[in-house]
């Protein structure tokens, strides 16, 4: 019998196929509060069909689109499974849109998007896997996208 390394959840979201080693960054993106009432399970470096991967299970929370976009920035191969009553109700792969708005801040301190202007940060996606983005305003590429996620 196959041993379950992390338990099944009744309702919530399972993020599977996270690039190995990136689960902690995914947790940061999800902005999990410290005073949790439900369970969050994390498995790092689990053997999968396509090599090692990380898995995150979040009970009682269904991810919205902007959270999925953020995950695609650091784990482009991840799949999102929405669980309802222990069954997979929805399953889809993360997909980076062609433009990222208000999710990543520009790493350039003198970019106009980092000043008090009425503007949200805006990036063009120039490569989806591995994710590569350039600032719409100053055209710079952040070196480490995960460090710039708002």
């Amino acid at each position: 019998m196959k041993e379950l390394k992390i338990p099944l959840i009744k309702n919530g979201t399972v993020i599977d196929h996270i690039t190995s080693g990136n689960a902690i960054k995914v947790l940061r993106i999800l902005n999990i509060p410290q005073n949790l009432s439900s369970t969050v399970s994390v498995a790092i470096n689990v053997k999968g069909h396509l090599g090692n991967k990380d898995i995150v299970k979040v009970e009682n929370r269904e991810l919205d689109t902007s959270e999925v976009d953020k995950i695609a920035l650091i784990a482009p191969k991840a799949t999102i499974n929405i669980i309802r009553n222990y069954e997979v109700a929805e399953k889809h792969r993360v997909e980076l849109p062609s433009e990222i708005i208000g999710i990543v801040s520009c790493s350039n301190p003198t970019c106009v998007s980092n000043y008090n202007e009425p503007v949200k940060s805006r990036f063009k996606v120039i490569n989806k896997d591995p994710p590569q983005i350039t600032c719409y305003y100053c055209e710079r590429e952040p070196e480490d996208i995960s460090e710039r996620i708002i």
Partner: protein, 214 residues
């Protein structure tokens, strides 16, 4: 607001991307007259015009960009534009002031593989154009970083001993010490003519965006 009492907006701004942001709000054409350490497209057009006027064509020239390639907005625009023409580019700068990756990527996507060196003497031997930039104190977030590189290069008669006779030297001006004034009266000095070319090129640009015929 400025667009309600003007036919065009020309914006020079210390922050990168400012002109692009203004263009999102303005109802009239916006010209980027230099945005921080970002781009300087009108300077770029006059630089191209100057090279073409002097060398009869842009493609195929050996062009050396020298100085502050990291913060120098004129060289960012120029490296991209020159790559459209298929020139041979050499970048010369201190290690800490190398051309940003974004600009390098643009050149490479256009099929130009710039050479990189800190050896100016060697790189100008086969150069047709030497484009010199000032190391701009105001662009450095850290004064110590500026002090380490200021005066790193100087173009003088001694340096030009082995240069081609028809080498032209350009500079977006103002210069400080990077070009010795003794060069001004030599046939190499093109920077004053280049600066003058800014007038007709920018007149042409304004005419173009205002619907005039050239």
């Amino acid at each position: 607001m400025a667009d309600s009492y003007s036919d065009a907006i020309v914006i020079r701004h210390p922050q990168e991307g400012a002109a692009r942001l203004a263009a999102e709000f303005a109802e009239v054409p916006v010209l980027n007259a230099g945005d921080g350490a970002g781009r300087h497209p009108t300077q770029c057009l006059l630089d191209l015009f100057t090279i073409k006027s002097e060398k009869k064509k842009i493609e195929g020239n050996n062009i050396v960009l020298l100085g502050d390639l990291k913060y120098g907005r004129t060289v960012h625009s120029l490296a991209y534009a020159l790559s459209l023409y298929g020139v041979h580019l050499t970048f010369v700068s201190p290690d800490s002031l190398k051309m940003p990756n974004e600009v390098l990527n643009e050149c490479e996507e256009l099929g130009v593989q710039p050479k990189y060196t800190s050896n100016l003497e060697k790189s100008i031997k086969n150069a047709d154009v030497l484009y010199v930039t000032r190391i701009q104190k105001e662009r450095f977030p850290d004064a110590e970083e500026y002090n380490q590189v200021v005066g790193a290069y100087k173009v003088d008669k001694n340096l030009l001993k082995n240069a081609r006779k028809n080498l032209v030297i350009m500079h977006p001006l103002p210069r400080i010490t990077e070009i010795d004034p003794e060069i001004d009266k030599t046939s190499h000095a093109l920077y004053f003519k280049q600066a003058f070319n800014g007038v007709p090129v920018r007149m042409a640009l304004l005419s173009l965006v205002l619907g005039g015929k050239l």
